[in-house]
Point group: C2
């Protein structure tokens, strides 16, 4: 179901994490569980994947991974600050080594002033290391493609933090 | 990415839930987020999908959706009892109307005496209604196919509960 390049990337990431004895979690909004779904497509992923949070609503972002509601009210759910809070909250709540977060506007609706369709913020936290953040504007390439490209970048960030 | 029949089923389910003003959540083990990932592939799904729990580890099943650890120790994570507890816990924790759960052995490893590869338990809970349960033995058809068939059945159970 997932494209071969993503299966390959997931397989490599899991091997990297396994060799370093790293456990991971995900905190996904616009990808809605696809990052976890891809990683768990690989046999033996339970050595590495501890859990995933599909924090689709704002309440879920606050309740499951501890994003302060007032932060969401101030800067919006699709923001660097919320992406960072999601990833760091996922590490803390799941008690894992690494967690990636994805929050964006997959479209076709949902754009707001300054936040176009295709805007996605990513963060990847690792216990004891500096959280990394990336921002992408994929443009109006379609909902499915925005989500797949987001899954791809999320895996790249996990790989970067695994080697950090 | 998802097969057209699953996209169609997800589209119909979301329309059914929307017309009845039902919110839903997912609690996934062997499907690892694919049910949530499929539902959120449909534009406008945030009207209906509140959150998803990817409860891959036993700890996640207990912490996120309240499955008693002693129940898992007694009957195993792949069981009717745990599937029911996951679905009912997801309704309670997410404060939604309906939740589906999936717990199974996607393979190729993981079989235990009496629990072959391809065995999957499903439950679907709705607030104020009787929880439904299904058990399937898909056989050794491959990890990906077991997961996809599980996603398909999970959607059927959500549709049954939505119309209950």
């Amino acid at each position: 179901m997932f494209p071969p390049n993503l299966i390959d990337a997931a397989t490599r990431l899991l091997a990297e994490c396994r060799s370093r004895r790293l456990k991971l979690a995900t905190a996904e909004s616009c990808t809605g569980g696809l990052v976890a779904g891809l990683l768990t497509e690989i046999a033996g992923s339970s050595d590495v994947v501890e859990r995933g949070f599909v924090t689709y609503s704002n309440e879920a972002k606050s309740e499951l991974v501890g994003v302060p509601p007032e932060l969401i009210a101030r800067v919006g759910a699709v923001s660097e600050e919320v992406a960072r809070a999601m990833a760091e909250g996922a590490v803390a709540r799941a008690r894992v080594d690494i967690a990636v977060s994805v929050t964006g506007i997959a479209g076709p609706g949902g754009a707001t002033p300054g936040k176009p369709v295709g805007l996605v913020h990513f963060a990847c936290a690792r216990a004891g290391k500096t959280t990394i953040h990336e921002r992408r504007e994929f443009g109006e390439i379609g909902r499915g493609p925005v989500r797949l490209k987001s899954v791809e970048l999320a895996l790249q960030l996990l790989a970067r933090q695994a080697r950090a």
